[in-house]
């Protein structure tokens, strides 16, 4: 995969993130205003100082007007993007490139989703009309297809794999309980997770991410200007995106134990950032744990665990807050919630807090004390065999 990367050419100098959850008293406009105000406040700028805007939302509005109206951005450039559940990351990626190109001095990436007002649980999207012959499966069912395939390929007992999924949900609730902005701020006993009502395959409701409302935003400037805005900017080391062939449902070559899109985008991002051993070099990772089997498979696809071994690493606590590489220290999609367009930027928000030493002590990742300075975000859109994948690496230190 050819890419030049923009390592250390742009930096984040301010971020904002609303609490995620059920905001019955707020619309998308309110959430956007809240996130944008926090972001510009933390960068010490006014909204008029931002030259251009990239808005990510899957279904809470169309066009740049969705942002220009509430923020009063009259006559400024505002793009609206959508790339399934990786929408927020896509807004960030494009805003970074705009600043790196020199076209603008300052840009804002902002994402929003208002999911709770639809009258349905889960993601509601308007799909193009088709001939009605496709099997209609829900998102948890599509991701649950990973479970028997993984168990079969690596000879793991289904009951043991269920314990692994439970361990992932338990960890992410443990982390989210230490995060005042998370949707679910309660630790949940493993036995409650394991016995939760079944949704699809082996997945219970506690294996599924939170359906929520929320917004998050970042202010991006050229790296050489960053210290004019803040003392401790977050440098962008790598941005990678891969849209797969989407042939998994018709291609017997796909075995439902991996996301090739993630493998490719991770390899590209590591090359851009100069990372050779992600597990040993990253301080933390925010990954797309839409359902617990997804997080399991991602540990292997992102190179954090050997093929077929991530389930053991999960049970051993490798990815806990005090483990070798903390994964989803903010609670992840599972516990922080998943307002689609905001999630990619929410992941960056945790990197912003953790890598700059601003995360509260009760969820500070242990590997920071070992001198690690890099964080990874991974955002997935679609389902196994037909998806897009985004990987970023950010760091608190400019490269030597």
């Amino acid at each position: 995969m050819a890419s030049n990367g923009i390592r250390d050419r742009v930096a984040i100098v301010g971020m904002g993130c609303t609490p995620f959850g059920e905001h019955w008293d707020k619309g998308a406009d309110h959430l956007l205003v809240d996130a944008a105000n926090e972001a510009i406040g933390s960068a010490g700028v006014k909204i008029d100082d931002i030259d251009a805007f990239w808005l990510g939302t899957m279904g809470s509005g169309i066009s740049g007007l969705t942002l220009s109206r509430p923020l009063k951005l009259d006559y400024r450039p505002v793009s609206r993007l959508e790339n399934m559940c990786a929408t927020g990351s896509e807004a960030f990626r494009n805003a970074c490139y705009a600043v790196a190109s020199g076209a603008y001095d300052t840009a804002m990436a902002i994402g929003v989703e208002k999911l709770k007002d639809s009258g349905f649980s889960g993601l509601v999207t308007a799909r193009p009309v088709d001939d009605g012959t496709a099997a209609s499966l829900t998102a948890p069912a599509l991701f649950s297809l990973l479970s028997p395939a993984y168990a079969h390929k690596y000879g793991v007992d289904q009951a043991e794999l269920k314990d692994v999924f439970t361990r992932i949900a338990w960890k992410n609730h443990h982390n989210g309980a230490r995060n005042p902005r998370a949707q679910f701020r309660k630790e949940v006993p493993k036995e409650d997770i394991a016995c939760s009502p079944i949704v699809a395959g082996p997945l219970g409701i506690f294996d599924c991410s939170g359906v929520s409302d929320g917004s998050a935003a970042a202010v991006i400037v050229r790296a050489e200007d960053a210290h004019r805005y803040c003392d401790n900017p977050l440098y962008v080391k790598a941005l990678s995106f891969a849209a797969g062939p989407a042939a998994g449902p018709i291609d017997p070559g796909y075995d439902y134990t991996t996301f090739e899109e993630v493998v490719r985008s991770a390899a590209d991002a590591y090359r851009q950032a100069g990372i050779t051993d992600p597990r040993a070099e990253l301080a933390m990772a925010e990954v797309h744990d839409c359902f617990t089997p997804t997080e399991l498979v991602l540990m292997e696809d992102l190179g954090f665990a050997e093929r077929g071994s991530a389930w053991k690493e999960v049970l051993a606590g490798t990815f806990d807050l005090d483990g070798e590489l903390a994964v989803n220290p903010d609670g992840g999609l599972k516990s922080f919630g998943h307002p689609i367009g905001a999630s990619g930027l929410r992941m960056l928000f945790e990197c912003w807090l953790q890598l700059r030493g601003e995360a509260p002590a009760e969820r500070r990742v242990a590997s920071l004390d070992r001198g690690r300075t890099l964080g990874l975000t991974h955002n997935l859109g679609g389902s196994p065999g037909e998806c897009v994948s985004f990987v970023s690496v950010v760091g608190s230190e400019p490269s030597a």
């Binding site: 012959t133 069912a141 395939a149 395959g201 018709i250």
Partner: protein
Amino acid sequence: VATFTVDRLAFSLSPPVVAAVVDFDGGGRFRCELTDVDPESVAIGDRVEMTFRRLFTANGVHNYFWKARPVRAKAIEEGES
């Protein structure tokens, strides 16, 4: 059957939706509903055959398409699967 699930949220005329990724002898793959099957008994490697069934009905219009079902014992004996 390459992998499978039981979707307890999706709509079906015969709930719950038992879904499978089916690989064909000689190549090709299709993801569809299984029918005439015990949801608890499905396993990777099961052999299934296609059957033309009603998927949806709306406004009195029936939409027929392919589902899969376990290969019947007689066919297995005769090696016709």
